[in-house]
């Protein structure tokens, strides 16, 4: 397997422009003769589907939810970065590029990241034109806030609901095209197989989640924008339905999976309360603009009410360790710091797995009214979930799985190792390296969807004969359908004793323990022994009631858990092989005396992309060397 990045030559700031000129165009009259399949309707998928339909292509879009407006991009709270420099504070495309590369711990491809920073400004313009109600200043101009890992104010926001508003903008553009008849939308539809004909992606197999019907949909290109795989951990800030099945099917059909061990553990989530816990809820990083994070200096103070712990007995550990960035240290750094103080026995709350996020100082400085205006909805959400009022007592927070930087490997054109199969947004691996900065996920999803894929998919289609797409009665399509139906019957036929959720929870426990915030050789090897055992038990003992010809939520979950069980193994394998610490991947063997991550640029300055070789054989690890021609590989410091 060859990993050709296909990044254009020339100076960094001219690459995308040059590439856009070099790419082939499709005759406008021929565009309607090409069909593009888009799986996922979040920021990346929704934006791509709408933009390509606007260009004139026939688009079919699929989502598992009841409406494309539900995609989990909707839950992003804080904001979206744009290098507008509206605040005259020294921002630029180059600085956003540099911050993103550095934030990713120098494990992302330069050309992709520069393009991301470059189109960030177009995204803001596009969203404003759609009617996204971004926060405004009194003069009517756009407001910005700061986010972790940056010293400039470049984050655009719509209260604490930025993701919702950006997604609704994309959704409305999508619905407009549905109304015009250029997009056919399939809701409550789950993609369960990709159809490869002569080595090229030509369609997908979908299960209708209401009728259970398994059907092929053919296209000239297939675009996967199916999000991240963080739910592999069971407890995560993802929506319950988020899953890896689409990208996992693609992996098993030949698409390389890059850097699966790069997961982001977000520092500010509401702590776990008990075994019933079904998901974790994020509290936006924007809260760290005004909230101060601390734990008691003394273990014996941990159970005391906050007002009985005097100021001098509080350890504002982020401010102490990282005076320059303080509470705005990047996510991986902040999460590990929280884990450290809790491991020392200084965590707060019932379980001892929590730290305080305190607004007392900010309330005194700005007034309660200002705090409410900025964070009101987040405070309300916290109160609903915990039953505690954060205006009166500090929030308790703890890290939780939030994002996966790894994903299917793609080249500069966002095409995977399978020709014709494009991967967008969180589902690909391309832009965030080993750690993503806050407010960059929305940026990447929309960059890929609005401004990259419409060009690069067009370039691919220009090389195909119009109207040459095979039909759904092709033998490969029938074979893929049979695979899907076979898997459904197999799951229904086991009739064991344990529920799909039970296995999912067990999987999560293993991964959180051995492949979570800190990893080591022995732990990862242990996990690689436990996971196949769990997988075997799953296939012997899972119980899926009901039928396949009906709406069956247990069946849907069982299929997703089956895929997660395999993916979990690949994550551990990747984490074991990456013998360095970088970004979200922290190997205990590679740390400085102060406990900071130590990279090994000599041996690991590369992307690791895994090739599937069969269910009973080890996957092959391939590498793409990362060349840094424009930034100096530095030790990441936020001190």
């Amino acid at each position: 397997m060859e990993l050709k990045a296909n990044a254009p030559d020339g100076p960094l700031e001219k690459k995308w422009e040059k590439h856009k000129f070099d790419m082939k165009l499709v005759n406008p009259a021929n565009k309607r003769k090409y069909k593009v399949i888009v799986v996922g309707s979040g920021l990346a998928g929704g934006a791509a589907a709408a933009s390509m339909a606007e260009l004139g292509y026939q688009v079919e879009c699929f989502c598992y939810q009841d409406s494309p407006r539900r995609a989990h991009s909707i839950a992003a709270q804080g904001g979206i970065n744009g290098a507008k420099n509206y605040h005259n504070d020294g921002d630029s495309v180059l600085r956003l590029f540099y911050d993103t590369i550095k934030g990713g711990d120098f494990r992302a491809r330069e050309a992709n990241v520069y393009r991301l920073a470059e189109v960030s400004n177009n995204i803001i313009d596009q969203c404003v034109a759609q009617g996204v109600p971004f926060a405004r200043e009194y003069g009517g101009l756009l407001d910005n806030r700061s986010f972790g890992g940056a010293l400039v104010s470049r984050t655009f926001y719509a209260r604490g609901q930025t993701g919702q508003q950006l997604l609704l903008g994309a959704y409305q553009a999508l619905e407009r095209q549905i109304g015009l008849g250029t997009i056919k939308m399939h809701t409550r539809s789950e993609m369960l197989e990709v159809i490869i004909i002569d080595g090229v992606a030509k369609g997908i197999v979908v299960r209708d989640m209401v009728t259970g019907q398994v059907q092929s949909y053919m296209g000239d290109a297939v675009v996967l924008a199916t999000g991240g795989y963080g739910n592999v951990m069971y407890l995560a800030t993802y929506a319950k339905g988020c899953n890896a099945s689409a990208i996992w099917r693609a992996y098993k059909k030949g698409a390389a999976f890059a850097n699966p061990c790069y997961t982001q553990i977000h520092p500010t989530c509401i702590p776990v309360t008990g075994d019933h816990q079904s998901k974790l809820t994020l509290m936006s990083e924007s809260l760290r603009n005004d909230g101060r994070i601390w734990v008691p200096k003394k273990k014996e103070d941990c159970k005391k009410p906050v007002d009985q712990i005097p100021e001098e007995d509080r350890d504002y550990y982020l401010e102490r360790k990282y005076p320059t960035y303080g509470n705005l240290a990047p996510r991986d750094v902040s999460s590990r710091a929280a884990k450290q103080v809790c491991d020392e026995g200084r965590g707060v709350g019932e379980t001892g797995l929590g730290v305080y996020l305190d607004f007392e100082a900010a309330t005194k400085r700005l007034g309660a009214h200002k705090i409410e205006e900025k964070y009101g909805n987040l405070f309300e959400m916290y109160d609903r979930i915990t039953g505690e009022d954060p205006y009166k007592v500090p929030m308790r927070i703890y890290p939780a799985t939030h994002y996966t930087m790894g994903g299917l490997w793609v080249d500069y054109n966002l095409m995977s190792t399978v020709p014709g199969l494009f991967v967008l947004g969180e589902a690909n691996f391309s832009d965030h390296g080993a750690n993503r900065l806050g407010a960059s996920a929305l940026m990447q999803g929309l960059a890929d969807g609005y401004f990259v894929a419409p060009y690069t998919v067009g370039n691919y289609l220009a090389g195909l004969k119009p109207g040459s797409c095979p039909t759904a009665d092709h033998p490969e399509a029938k074979a893929a359908e049979a695979e899907v139906s076979g898997r459904v019957s197999r799951l229904l036929g086991i009739n064991g004793k344990e529920t799909p959720t039970y296995f999912h929870r067990e999987l999560g426990k293993i991964l959180w323990e051995y492949c979570g915030m800190a990893r080591n050789d022995a732990g990862l090897k242990k996990a690689l022994q436990l996971l196949p055992e769990l997988r075997q038990r799953f296939w012997e003992d899972v119980k899926v009631p009901g039928s396949g010809a009906d709406l069956n939520q247990s069946l849907e979950l069982a299929g997703r858990v089956a895929d997660f069980l395999e993916l979990g193994e690949l994550m551990c394998r990747d984490a074991l092989e990456r013998r360095e610490s970088c970004g979200g991947h922290f190997r205990e063997e590679w740390q400085s005396p102060e406990g900071e991550a130590v990279r090994d640029d000599e041996n690991f300055c590369h992307v690791a992309a895994w090739e599937y070789t069969g269910d009973n054989s080890a996957p092959n690890r391939h590498t793409e060397e990362l060349k840094f021609e424009n930034v100096h590989l530095a030790t990441r410091s936020y001190k």
């Binding site: 609901q161 319950k240 079904s278 959400m381 039953g387 709406l551």
Partner: protein, 262 residues
């Protein structure tokens, strides 16, 4: 908050599919932690059902943080349950007492047919948006973000309306099963912004026409929608929509097809 455990009796609507008549089934939920969310309580009941080989209660949910709008059931007669401005997924069991009986039903409206158990089809909402709930701004056509200043009060009011999550609680709460709070929220958001002006009056006309086609009822000012709305979308939006609708009806002119160029 200190954790307690409570015992509950649930009357849950079970309906095999759209054709089935459906009916209530009683379940006992024992030793429920008050720290659980309402959906987590149902998760535990469902785990028990699966272990017994019975089909779990089908329910819609996804983000479980009150923003995607996919969850939503009627709890003791109230869409999303007893707590104000709270979606079903954000409702926690500390809102209930030991020994309570809880009736759980799907959102009911002609325009929201039941698919299974507590799951309904809200596709009508998408079709209303497709009819006009957007600003036509094809990708790439936008001017600089700061080229169009927006008065802060307008942006804030637009955001208040845009907070709608499209869950359909307003329809379920309304004695007429009217969708006017949902429709007016989108119309208001876009009408309050300068970017939304060119299509302002065609938008209201097209969206209202689709709303009527979907067999939603009309508004008779009960205000139940606003009370049930988890995002506190205001009735003021309906007033704004009605004003725009009247204006649009009075000033409507069929579009003249411009002549083609050379």
């Amino acid at each position: 908050m200190s954790e307690k455990h409570i015992n509950l009796t649930l009357y849950v609507w079970r309906q095999k599919n759209a054709q089935d008549e459906g009916g209530f089934v009683t379940y006992e939920a024992k030793h429920v932690s008050t720290e659980m969310s309402f959906l987590e309580m149902l998760d535990v009941v469902n785990e028990g059902l699966i272990r017994k080989g019975e089909e779990p209660i089908a329910m819609d949910h996804d983000c479980r943080e009150g923003i995607c709008g996919q969850c939503g059931v009627v709890i003791n007669g109230r869409p999303h349950g007893p707590r104000e401005r709270t979606t079903t997924c954000q409702l926690h069991m500390r809102s209930f007492e030991d020994g309570d009986t809880i009736t759980i039903e799907p959102f009911r409206a002609t325009a929201f047919p039941v698919i299974k158990d507590l799951i309904v089809d809200r596709g009508a909402f998408d079709r209303i948006i497709a009819a006009g709930g957007f600003i036509s701004a094809p990708t790439g056509s936008a001017p600089d973000g700061n080229a169009i200043p927006v008065k802060k009060t307008c942006a804030d009011l637009a955001m208040d309306a845009a907070a709608c999550i499209g869950c359909g609680a307003c329809v379920a709460a309304c004695p007429n099963a009217s969708a006017m709070l949902f429709v007016s929220a989108k119309i208001s958001q876009l009408a309050l912004l300068p970017q939304g002006q060119p299509e302002r009056y065609s938008r209201v006309k097209d969206m209202v026409a689709q709303m009527d086609d979907e067999e939603f009822g009309t508004c008779t000012n009960h205000g139940e929608c606003e009370a049930a709305c988890p995002k506190a979308v205001s009735l003021e939006n309906i007033a704004r929509m009605n004003r725009d609708f009247i204006w649009s009806s009075l000033t409507y002119r069929p579009e003249s097809g411009g002549s083609g160029g050379a």
